[in-house]
Symmetry: C2
């Protein structure tokens, strides 16, 4: 389990396929994790086929972590299967709402992350593609997702072809609160982000982007207000369109 302490996301992969014989024991572990009322409100779609992977590429902006991977796995919140079961049993489902979506989305990430832990322990590399919540509509079209199914996270999966360093993390004390949330005073913020701001690679990032500081790289380039608002609208429209 020391894997957990030293893990890194992998964005360059060997060409080798990952077979179902390798994947299924990982899914077995993933689907054993906690789930709301034991309803298992998720489905998984595997993309290995080259033509399918091409079609899905624009939804993930064809980012290197996507393009380099031999496969991706899309974990979807799924109330379709459970609802169909209810309807077939003369039971009246009421799962077309925000609370149901929240339960399913949480179930989905729990399963996905357990998959990641098991995969990394088995020598595979993974990378989460944040683009999933940007372009869920395009992903749903390619994967033919029906109503009550929403893609939540996508993983690039494969055998690592790189050995990157661990990225920096905030101090634990910056994240853990005892009994009540202790809000951050200006001096706390300075202390918490000091190490991140002092790292050579982050300082390089700032100068390459001709910004005053690292925070501006986030707000002006990586995660701008304009983009976040655009994708918010798209995401909410899509969740509603899927029937939640």
């Amino acid at each position: 389990m020391d894997t957990l302490k030293t893990r890194r996301s992998i964005r360059k992969f060997k060409a080798d396929e990952v077979s179902d014989e390798v994947l299924n024991p990982l899914f077995e572990k993933a689907f054993r994790s906690s789930t709301t009322g034991n309803m298992q409100l998720y489905s998984v779609v595997i993309t290995r086929d080259k033509a399918q992977k091409e079609k899905l590429a624009p939804a993930h902006f064809n980012q290197p972590a996507y393009a380099n991977a031999p496969m991706v796995i899309t974990f979807c919140a799924d109330f379709n299967r459970f609802t169909k079961w209810c309807e077939q049993r003369n039971a009246t489902p009421g799962y077309d709402n925000a609370e149901s979506f929240a339960c399913a989305a949480i179930d989905t990430v729990i399963a996905a992350q357990t998959f990641c832990v098991a995969a990394e322990e088995a020598g595979l590399g993974i990378c989460y593609l944040g683009t999933t919540t940007y372009n869920p509509d395009q992903i749903a079209e390619v994967l033919q997702l029906p109503k009550l199914v929403v893609p939540i996270v996508t993983l690039s999966v494969g055998y690592p072809a790189e050995d990157p360093q661990c990225s920096d993390r905030l101090p634990i004390s910056a994240i853990v609160h005892q009994e009540v949330y202790k809000d951050y005073a200006p001096a706390d913020i300075d202390r918490i982000f000091a190490e991140k701001e002092s790292l050579k690679e982050n300082q390089q990032f700032v100068s390459e982007n001709q910004k005053e500081n690292l925070a501006q790289v986030f707000t002006d380039i990586r995660y701008t207000k304009k983009d976040m608002e655009f994708f918010s609208q798209k995401l909410m429209d899509f969740i509603r369109k899927q029937g939640f």
Copy 2:
């Protein structure tokens, strides 16, 4: 890592406290897991104090898995810390929207689930409390969560005082789709849910509740349309109130 294959949620705990010396190495692992743009969009609030635990109890309907635990840990989506950093650096944050909430909520569950894996490997027992998304407003009040902070999942944590059986799970083939989502025909639904429906404990559940079948136990008792709609409204109102 065989823990993952045989894990069970724990709802009865020994009285023993779980110290920070035990918890911190687990948090170290949890916070090493994947996070959107390395922003670590989560905070954790530990509840050990008896008075605090009393105050929080109604939000979790004082369910046995809550009442029996020596402590609970609330994992919260948190864009407050990151936003404060941006503001303090003359950067203009745009993280008061749905997409930002989605990123933070996903980050939060990834960290929480890695914590669970590490905790179970270390001999602790955990149980997710689904009540967190039912009563986020009450939880936020007790934990004093500021704007841009929303509780997503709560874990009961402690040393196990029971040794329950693994609960049933759907077959892997019911959840994994190759290339495209293959929607479920009536015969698929019957096959997928057959084992669950045949289990003695589930049949007992049906007869105790005087229902025709297991699906009706879910729709009429455990997760009713009326409740899900009530909690949906509450959840959406609260997320908006927190500034997203």
